[in-house]
Structures are given as C-alpha cells and as structure tokens.
C-alpha cells in the first residue's frame, strides 16, 4: 500500500485515505474511526493508553481478547483489533470468565464503564475478584450513564446532578478500588486520563500480572456529567484533574472516596500475589480427584 510506505517514511500523505497511516494501526480498527465518542470525552485517550500498554507489555496479541458490555465505554471492544466481544449490559465479566475458564491460555481484558461494571455487573465484579479469574478489568469511570443521556450512576458523587437525580444525587457513591481490594483483586490502580503515561505503564504492568486486576480510569464526560453539573467542557475537566489529583502509591484503599469536585487520589494501591482461579482449580483437583 502506498500510504503505508509513506507512513514508514514518516511523510504525511495527501489525499489518500487516512486509515492506514496511524502508528496504532496494528492494534486498532482504523476502518471504524471516527468513533462514536463526543468531543472532550476521555475514553479515546484511555483506548490510546490501552493500545500503547498492549504494545509495551509485549504479550501475545493473538492470545488476547477483549470483552465489553454496554455503554459508551462498551463500544471500546469494537475499536480494538483483537478478538473482540460486545456483550449485554453488565455481563462482560461473566462472559470473560467463560472464555478464560474454557481456554486458560487466553488473556482477557474487560473494558467497560462504571455503570456497566459496578451497577448491573457489580455482582459479577466481586465474584470474579473473589475467584481471582485471570483478567484485566479496565473500568472507565465518568461518574454517569452517558450513553443513555446522563442518568445517575453508582459512582456519581454525592450531590452531583444527573437527569434521574434532578435535585442532586442522594446516594453515596462506590469506591471502586476499595471494593476490588476487599473482594480479592491482585492489582488495583486508579488514574485519570490526564496521567496517560502512568496509565499506560499501569496497563502494561497489569497485563503481565496473572489474576484479577482492576484499573479505574477517571475520564471526563463533557456532554453529560460536566454539562449537567456546569463544570465546563472536557478540557476544563482535564484542568481540574491537573490541579486536584494526587499520586499516592500504596494508599489504603478505604481512603479513596471521590466527592463532588474534591481531591482525587490516584496511584497503584494493591499489588499482591494470590493463586488464580485456574491455578487453584488445577491444583485442588489434582490433589483431590484420583485417577
């Protein structure tokens, strides 16, 4: 392809289809770009970090697949050029458990949103963590249900507005790293999309780690969360993250609550060893089931 050669020579092509030239061609489905996300949305950045992380981790991409549920982040699977599955709402982790248990050679990534993973899929989340199924869960937290138009999510900070909490969210939100930690995840980190390099490193590290890893990615939702709460556009949210995030590695996860426009603590909080589900399964069965 002409354009590919041009890309190799680092020449910007003129009047040729642009799908072949981006350096992330090999991990993203460039024929589906532009994607559906709004201007100022951070999910695209999270995908870039993920793609870079995949490259950095140097794992066998053939043995890697990605699953997502429903929602804005649920569309990620369709843009990543791996074996990809776009499943039903909340069931991404359950679906991935099936893949992983039926074929333990595969590395499964569940890339989905806060509503998908923590609300309707909350049960599967804690159970997969408890079992320590070998998968990486990347949970993009934009504090709201964005695909359906800005309803209150289980992560919406107290008193923040949403269309179904027109007088401010009544319920306290989930602290995702705390749940993951207490349910038994082996790797727990949180980053905002602004710390994109650290996020990339974190993804690369988690990809290589066997067991249930969770990375919470805080992302601006310019169209719903910021708009309803009058927080400006995506860039304003990024500036807010710039001024109000603090990196504290190894922080006790119970201190990681996020309030409405309060300080966000990011970093790598948990990194421990536990036998994965398939390890325990094989070990236990080989000990108890006699031939």
């Amino acid at each position: 392809m002409e354009s590919k050669e041009m890309a190799e020579k680092n020449v910007l092509p003129k009047d040729v289809p642009t799908m072949d030239v981006h350096p992330m061609d090999d991990v993203l489905r460039m024929d589906r770009i532009p994607h559906i996300w709004c201007p100022g949305c951070g999910i695209g950045t999270a995908v870039t970090a993920f793609a870079e992380g995949l490259k950095k981790a140097e794992i066998d991409l053939q043995k890697t697949c990605i699953v997502s549920g429903i929602g804005c982040t649920g569309r990620v699977a369709g843009y990543v050029k791996l074996d990809s599955f776009h499943t039903t709402h909340g069931r991404g982790i359950a679906f991935a458990t099936g893949i992983q248990v039926a074929n333990p050679d595969l590395k499964v990534i569940v890339f989905s949103g806060d509503g998908d993973i923590m609300s309707i899929g909350g049960n599967h989340f804690i159970h997969a963590a408890r079992r320590n199924v070998n998968m990486l869960v990347i949970c993009v937290n934009n504090f709201i249900y964005a695909m359906t138009g800005g309803q209150v999510a289980p992560t919406t900070p107290h008193a923040a507005y949403a269309t179904t909490s027109p007088f401010g969210a009544v319920e306290p939100p989930f602290n995702i790293p705390y749940i993951a930690d207490s349910s038994g995840a082996v790797y727990v980190a949180r980053w905002t999309v602004l710390q994109v390099r650290r996020l990339t490193d974190s993804i690369a590290e988690a990809l290589k780690k066997p067991g249930f890893s969770v990375i919470e990615v805080i992302s601006p939702c310019a169209m719903y969360y910021s708009r309803i709460n009058r927080l400006g556009d995506g860039l304003d949210m990024m500036k807010f993250y710039h001024d109000n995030t603090e990196i504290r590695h190894g922080e006790d996860t119970k201190n990681l609550d996020i309030g409405f426009q309060t300080k966000i603590i990011v970093g790598k909080f948990v990194d421990r060893e536990r036998p994965t589900y398939m390890d325990s399964y094989n070990k236990w069965l080989s000990g108890t089931v006699k031939d």
């Binding site: 489905r29 589906r32 991409l61 053939q62 043995k63 697949c65 699953v67 699977a77 369709g78 050029k81 791996l82 074996d83 990809s84 599955f85 776009h86 499943t87 039903t88 069931r91 982790i93 359950a94 679906f95 991935a96 458990t97 099936g98 893949i99 992983q100 248990v101 039926a102 074929n103 050679d105 595969l106 049960n123 599967h124 159970h127 069965l285 089931v289 031939d291």
Partner: protein, 403 residues
C-alpha cells in the same frame, strides 16, 4: 467426526434422566459446563463433576444463571462445546442471554428441567409450563430449536442431537425435560462411541484477513473461528453487518435478523421430528410431548382395548412446530387431544394448525396422572360424544380435582 474418547460410556446402563443427559453431553463432545444449582437439575451437576476428570471437561459454578449462560457463550467461542443446565426460574433469568446467543450465532445447549411454576412454584414437582417461554421468552425476533425428551434414553439421544443441531445451525438449542423424566430411572442403550454421529463445528477455512464472522453461506449459517487464532474479529449483540460491525439502519436490521429465522425455518421439515403410532385408522389422536407422552401411550393402549380408535403423535421437536403434520392430521381425524402439565400452551399451536377441521380438546393434568391414564380415558370417551366440530379449545373440567 466421531467421538473417540475412551471414557464415553457404551453398552446398556441404568441411568436417571439427569445422568443420561450428562452422558449424552460427553458423548456429543461437550467439555464445558457453567451452571447455577437449581432444583430439580442438581443431579446433572453431580454427575458431570464425577465424570469430568475422566473426560477432561471443565465446570464452573457461576454466581447466577445470567452469568452461567454468558460464560457458556464465551466458552463456546473458544472452540469448546458448551452447555448450561437449569430449571424454570433459571431459564427466565437466562432470557436476555438467549437473545445474545441468537444474535452472536453461538452454538450452545441449554437443558431446562421444568418444574411446576410460575415463579418458585413447586421445585420438586414436574411441569411443562416453559415450552412457550422457550420459544418467545427473549425480546426480538428469533427462531430456535427445542427438543422434548420423554425418557432417560431420549434424554441421552436428544442431548447429542441438540449439540449437533446447535453446531449445524449455529444456534442455541434447548432441551425441555421435566422433573418426571429427569428423575426417572431407565435403561439407556449407548452405542460405541465411534458409531455416534457428531456434527463438527463449521469452521472458516481461508485466508485470515478475508474472514468475515457473519458472512452467511447458502443455508444462511455463517462460519466460525476460535478465539486466539489471530483472526481479530469483532462480534456484537447490536444489529451488525457481515464484518460484525454495528450498523443502525432499517436495512441492516432486515439483513441481519431475517436470515436468523430463515436458517431454522427453511429446514423445519427436517428438524421437526415426531413419532406417530396408530394414526392410520384413528378417529382421535393424542398429541403429546415430554412426560405427558407416557400417559398418552398408556391411554392409547387402554382405549384400543376398549375398541376406541385412538392414535398418538409424540412431538420430539416442539419448536419449530410441525405445522403441516398437525394440519394433515386435523383433516383426517375427528378429535385432537392435547394433554399437558400446564394450563394450555402447545394446545394453542394445535388449535392454530387444525384450522377448525377437528375438535381440539385440552387436558391439563398433573403429575399424579402421568402414570394413571384414567382421566385421559374418560376424556376420550367424553370427546366421542361431540357431534360437530366446535370452534376454539374444548376443556372438560373436572372441578372436583381442584383445590
């Protein structure tokens, strides 16, 4: 393709329906089970676990039925034949994923050991209240194959058949057993493994970058590949084109969903199997499936002894429904009697296909009558008195049975 694992049972065994089901699954090549324990299907999981190390099969107990079917769909895409086992309430929970497996065209088998419903109902008593649900339970349009065994032997045979159908049509296949069949012990004759016919998965053979996950062949069945072979394909529950990419248009909806029905309906005459007996000279035909067909057989024999010309049609395949056969019978005979352990489901289909040509008599019966055909005999006698063909379903209610 033939099964070749030495661990597959052969010869004659006395097994319960639940056990026979698992043996059938192993013989058919099933190597993955995700399930959530539910009465009255518990023995299946026990049997599976006892035997799983011999045949090298995997089991995972998921946190609920929703995730059980999700895991089965995921596992099926890794190339393993997969199934799940449940009962009524579990099947209700699986309804969303039944739709997903239809849309992803994932071969998988769902065993439903029916119990008395609705809701919790009576967990340890038989029912047949889920047959309509099996066909219509998920949202949107789809067709699927539903088999209904009536004995442990059929439980074994139909499980193999179900896996074969699911691979052939890339569709979920349901087995609607019931508590009576599942807990019934019976003789199961199993052929040597190399004589059992197994339908291989329809794999894509061609250049990797030319693979389209939903490109249909002339029978409207797309080709499959396993995860982890570097095809980098995308599948989605959204309405999609051949590449598996979502397209939100009216045209694509037609393009995607209509063939889902055609792939089953075009072959409906082959799929829809039934067993006929004594229908040649019959004036009354009992149409039954599952446990009820035991009653039907006994009633037929007794009625013949009494000199009443009764025949029997046992539906092996409940869905797709054998429309033509029923219409044919309705034109020939006077009365069609449909005994079911529910309050009228398949009888509606029989009424539909009889086109007012024969009286349709519905018998709602409970478990006590499975082994005792007296009630059915009395209804046969009662139905003989009808002189004209009546519109609608006739039900002779024996009010004293109530309460």
């Amino acid at each position: 393709m033939k099964t070749n694992t030495p661990a597959i049972l052969t010869g004659t065994h006395t097994l319960s329906g639940n056990e026979a089901c698992i043996e059938g699954a192993f013989a058919a090549g099933c190597r993955f089970l995700a399930a959530y324990p539910i009465m009255p299907a518990l023995e299946t999981i026990d049997r599976y676990l006892q035997r799983s190390s011999e045949v090298d099969a995997t089991f995972i107990q998921m946190e609920d039925e929703i995730s059980a079917l999700a895991a089965v769909i995921g596992a099926s895409w890794t190339g393993k034949k997969s199934m799940t086992i449940t009962s009524g309430p579990g099947l209700s929970n699986m309804m969303e994923h039944l739709g997903l497996s239809v849309m992803l065209e994932t071969p998988c088998v769902i065993i439903d050991v029916q119990r008395a419903g609705p809701s919790i109902g009576i967990p340890n008593r038989p029912g047949q209240g889920d047959v309509m649900q099996a066909r219509w339970g998920s949202h949107g349009d789809y067709e699927l194959i539903v088999l209904s065994p009536s004995s442990p032997q059929e439980m074994f045979d139909f499980t193999i058949k179900a896996f074969n159908f699911s691979e052939k049509y890339r569709s979920p296949v349901l087995i609607m057993a019931d508590e009576y069949v599942a807990h019934q012990k019976g003789e199961v004759k199993i052929q040597p493994a190399n004589k059992i016919k197994i339908e291989p998965r329809k794999y894509f053979k061609g250049e990797k970058d030319k693979y389209l996950p939903f490109k249909r062949d002339k029978n409207f069945v797309p080709r499959m590949v396993d995860i982890g072979e570097n095809y980098k394909f995308h599948v989605t529950g959204l309405t999609h084109d051949d590449r598996g990419y979502p397209v939100m248009t009216e045209k694509c909806q037609e393009y995607n969903v209509h063939p889902l029905l055609w792939k089953i309906l075009n072959d409906r005459d082959e799929i829809a199997e039934f067993k006929e007996s004594n229908t040649d000279d019959a004036e009354i035909v009992i149409i039954s499936y599952g446990a009820s067909s035991n009653t039907a057989q006994k009633a037929m024999k007794q009625a013949r002894e009494l000199g009443i010309k009764v025949g029997s049609l046992k539906l092996d395949t409940v869905w797709p429904f054998p429309d033509k056969k029923i219409t044919e019978l309705a034109e020939k005979v006077k009365t069609l009697i449909v005994p079911e352990i529910n309050y009228g489901q398949i009888v509606l289909e029989v009424e539909r296909c009889s086109y007012g040509q024969a009286n349709v008599v519905f018998v709602s019966h409970g478990e006590t009558e499975i082994d005792n055909p007296d009630n059915l005999i009395s209804i046969i006698k009662q139905s003989q008195k009808e002189k004209q063909v009546k519109k609608g379903i006739i039900e002779y209610r024996n009010e004293t049975r109530r309460g």
